[in-house]
């Protein structure tokens, strides 16, 4: 369940913008967690990519936050982080030990697709024309982001052919 306590049909433009900001914030935090996990396990190439994703999500979040301030100033937010989960952020177990850059990018690509599906799926429920237009815009941006990640994927050389299994120790019987 991506949303809790939010009725998309009744969403105001301010709530919709706040929701979009929080979606970016959540994704940004999760990518940062992943980057730290990778750094802790000396998987630096994947870490670098996840840090790049942190920057991308932060940039998008800042743009949305500026729009929110221009339009609604400091009006108190009614949408909270407790109302959404994993709209664009990768699943906790999408990270893996010794991820290759390709695996990291594929995890991010899956998230961009997931976010597109979320915004697309909400569209038929939206009654406010302005909110509808915002969600269309957000969906289209996710499609653009997919293209950017795919372009990064295309730049990669072939994988080593090693899998997770090659790095797992044999279980030790007691």
């Amino acid at each position: 369940m991506a949303l809790r306590g939010i009725d998309p049909a009744k969403q105001s433009m301010m709530d919709a913008l706040d929701l979009a900001i929080l979606v970016e914030e959540e994704a940004q935090e999760r990518y940062l967690e992943f980057a730290l996990q990778m750094e802790q396990h000396r998987t630096f190439e994947a870490a670098r990519f996840f840090r790049q994703m942190v920057e991308n999500e932060a940039k998008h979040g800042r743009e949305l936050a500026e729009r929110r301030v221009q339009r609604f100033g400091a009006a108190p937010r009614t949408v909270t982080r407790a109302m959404l989960f994993d709209v664009e952020a990768p699943d906790y177990d999408a990270a893996r030990a010794f991820m290759t850059p390709r695996q990291a990018m594929e995890a991010a690509l899956a998230c961009e697709v997931k976010a597109q599906v979320f915004f697309d799926g909400a569209l038929p429920m939206l009654k406010d024309g302005e909110v509808h237009a915002l969600f269309e815009e957000l969906r289209d941006e996710e499609i653009q982001h997919q293209a950017l990640v795919r372009a990064e994927l295309d730049k990669l050389g072939p994988d080593s052919g090693l899998s997770d299994e090659d790095f797992v120790d044999e279980p030790a019987a007691q």
């Binding site: 396990h41 407790a82 109302m83």
Partner: protein, 293 residues
């Protein structure tokens, strides 16, 4: 808490400088985030919190939390947490560990904290395997599970942690998973607010030694919110009925919350101390009782 009733603390205020060394993708990363969020919602300053754990991957969690912490010995988180709570009744005491720590070597302690209604929140990160020691059968491993200590499949039925604590009479029993972090934080917060022993079982997948059926992707397919099916958390028998689905369905939320919580052990001890103080010999005369004149 501020005067407006809004917590002055943010989840990041409970995050320690120590970086987790769990395997990337481990479910425990989500649990620690859920705990930070719950503590921020409660709003108690870190120096008023004690976090006690046993031994295992998940028992590292006090180190990653800004609060008093004690990574104790295997299976003994609860007795130590109990001692800390009795000596420092004003502390908010959390205990945490894995399914092996809680339901194997430490299994005998749970019943006694429950019957005393110790005001402690016990969070079990249930991954159905001994992950830290490289994948041995644990008390919640499913029957037939193939591990390095059960090469032909486990012959044993797993312990059902939910039924276990419900049967002993726990006043608050809930389940959460990394499939819903917001829900997990809400459940932990509610557990902490419950006046007495509160148990939260968290399905926390082991990405290294766990099977596909225990990973987030699969958990999503069997997850079901107890609220969405209209479960009444005041109904203990209904909770026990639903708890029997452990291992097949993943019910998320509060199974049981005693609508009339009994006094906590700490409250009873305080009352007894007041009662005994009435006829108590003054401290400076205690020695006289043992001296023959």
């Amino acid at each position: 808490m501020s005067l407006s009733g809004i917590s002055e603390y943010q989840p990041k205020d409970y995050k320690s400088d120590l970086k987790p060394i769990w395997c990337p993708g481990c479910g425990d990363y989500s649990v620690v985030q859920g705990i930070y969020r719950a503590l921020a919602a409660i709003g108690r300053p870190p120096h008023e919190i004690a976090f006690i754990s046993g031994i295992g991957c998940s028992s590292r969690i006090p180190g990653y939390t800004t609060a008093y912490g004690f990574n104790t010995v295997h299976g003994r988180a609860l007795p130590i947490a109990q001692g800390i709570k009795l000596a420092n009744p004003d502390l908010l005491v959390l205990a945490a560990g894995g399914d092996g720590d809680g339901f194997s070597i430490g299994g005998g302690h749970i019943a006694h904290l429950i019957r005393r209604n110790m005001d402690i929140t016990y969070i079990v990160m249930d991954n159905q395997i001994y992950g830290l020691t490289k994948g041995q059968l644990s008390p919640t491993s499913p029957k037939g599970r193939n591990t390095c200590t059960s090469r032909l499949g486990s012959l044993e039925e797993p312990v059902n942690p939910l039924l276990y604590v419900l049967a002993y009479g726990a006043g608050f029993v809930a389940q959460a998973a990394p499939t819903d972090l917001a829900g997990m934080a809400a459940v932990i917060e509610e557990a902490i607010r419950y006046p007495g022993f509160a148990f939260v079982n968290i399905q926390s997948p082991c990405v290294t030694y766990g099977e596909e059926a225990q990973q987030v992707k699969h958990l999503k397919t069997i997850a079901e919110s107890l609220e969405s099916i209209g479960h009444n958390p005041a109904d203990r028998l209904a909770a026990m009925d639903l708890a029997q689905d452990y291992g097949n369905k993943l019910h998320l939320g509060v199974f049981y919350r005693n609508p009339e919580p009994p006094p906590t052990y700490g409250d009873l001890v305080k009352e007894r101390q007041i009662l005994m103080a009435k006829d108590a010999v003054p401290r400076e005369r205690i020695l006289d009782l043992f001296i023959k004149h």
